[in-house]
Symmetry: C2
Subunit: 364 residues, 2 copies
Amino acid sequence: MPMVTGLEGVVVAETNIGLVDGEKGHLVYRGHWAKELAITKTYEEVAYLLWYGKLPDQSELEQFKKQLVKERELPEYIKKMIELTPENVDMMSVVRTMVSAIGNDSFGWPPTLDEVISITAKIPTIIAYRYRLINGQKPLDPRSDLNHTANYLYMLTGTEPSTAHIRALDAYLILTMEHGMNASTFTARVVGSTRSDLASSISAAVGALKGPLHGGAPSEVSDMLEQIGTKENAEPWIRSQLEKGELLMGFGHRVYKTYDPRAEALSVVAEELSKEDPYFELARYVEKKCLELLAEYKPGRKIYTNVEYYAAAVLKGINLPPQLFTPTFVVSRVVGWSAHLIEQAEVNRIFRPQSTYVGELPAE
Amino acid sequence: MPMVTGLEGVVVAETNIGLVDGEKGHLVYRGHWAKELAITKTYEEVAYLLWYGKLPDQSELEQFKKQLVKERELPEYIKKMIELTPENVDMMSVVRTMVSAIGNDSFGWPPTLDEVISITAKIPTIIAYRYRLINGQKPLDPRSDLNHTANYLYMLTGTEPSTAHIRALDAYLILTMEHGMNASTFTARVVGSTRSDLASSISAAVGALKGPLHGGAPSEVSDMLEQIGTKENAEPWIRSQLEKGELLMGFGHRVYKTYDPRAEALSVVAEELSKEDPYFELARYVEKKCLELLAEYKPGRKIYTNVEYYAAAVLKGINLPPQLFTPTFVVSRVVGWSAHLIEQAEVNRIFRPQSTYVGELPAE
């Protein structure tokens, strides 16, 4: 068999979890359009959908939310480990280490939904605990009266977030929970295929998402918006970039050959929010100008807005500092990873591909 | 493209590092027979070979050993994290977490040999530090006058190991450093393909090796030898297992369809050691009886001794407790993982396979 670099086009699993159709611009989670879920549902409802295969009814949702709330608190030794972690350790490394540190003898195989809920509930607490510590602020206990998204923002900032900010972050988190067999989801499945435990699989996936080719560098988009600053400045700034042959960050995607459905949904959210915050209006205006000028400078090349553009716009719009963009991606994608691990366990076979030796041979 | 379960037979990389030929029973490291290296070389020499592509000359070896020695010491915060880790956290989880915790801002992409040496040098110290702590003993500082293998045994036991034990463990470690595109090596490559850092890739690989389908349960072989106990007891014990339709642990392998070259080399080492320790003689006698009786009970099925049989015999023979068998596998396999990560970085392309969605579709 010839070598398949990067396994492009190789199907490694059948899945009931999600469909990514880049030609049509479709993103489906368990029979539902992701973009509709993002606009109409909460983090908890969509996590439930991805894990249990159906949307919860009212009493299922209440019980599920209670369990998530109960699991938010970090064990004391995890807090102390975060405190011990030197300042030159970046947030993604902290998340990877602490997810790993949560694992113990009680984690077996196959992974259980209780373990999944426990790790998912703790990730925002890990990030917020570390974030406040390195900023010289006292870490805050989670607040049981707030939902997952609102509590995350509260633990970071110490103030109760606005409904608009909760809604914007909820939409972002829902839209980035699941995206087919990407590198981190695949990593989780490969680790899980050895019958290793959930802490191993999820911490490995965090490590994969840390790579700039995957978790991306969304701060580049927010840097661009910051540099542009005003509507008037948009066209001259973009023209000058394109004249210099520079890329515009946030446009084009390996998978989507049409409008990225996640960008589409986040654009709807940004439109609503622009009444409350002019930053969202700027983001929408800059997007329009970028697309116009890309069509002018690169005629015939179909380049569309990707999720990073609006992800950055939304995350910046709710005042999240850029060093929290990729860690916040973990807050959502852990849902997809876990769904895939549960599914992988049902039909498990260890991943053991081949390599071709092209080195020297010894004399026989 | 049809689904390839477990990626069996799919070639994902060309490599100069190692060749596993299961039909012929060949294992080659960079142009050398692994079984010859195991009998004639040390851990340091073979690690150098796998990383630098050639065996070191005398002065290269001296310098390399100095660098490894210098990097053995754990940072204070890692020691404290190990102390904080609750008792119900198994050794593989501790190694996974502490390798992750070593990572910081200075780890970039591509991975460097300095980073590789630093992590490889610290793994035995992590294991020994934890091992002595949970056994109520004071952890020991590494001893700079001992080589990698001898120092590992010294840090575990507090006594200077015999030459026979050093030699047996060296052979085991050399033979398990590298084995083609197995699940943990593949995990390391997938994580590294996102341009993530070495701490991410190696801790992910530790997590994959933790899975019983991969890192195995070599303690089952040593349990068998313990139950048999004496030569006289071997035949009746084995017959009774085979009559009950039970498997004999340590025989048969997914890849090798002939004598596993690693078992072959370890058998030579065990033979030498049997003069000094009757346990090795028992192990060789039980192997012979198992093969005889397997031929009698399963005629026509070619079943050969695999590496786990002699790995368990050797590790038990040097008095390593079974809970350290898989962690000790990390001490060796980290060399192969790192060699693959350096190679992957040279021709990198992100691993992003496909999945086929078989769930419901929403109405358009």
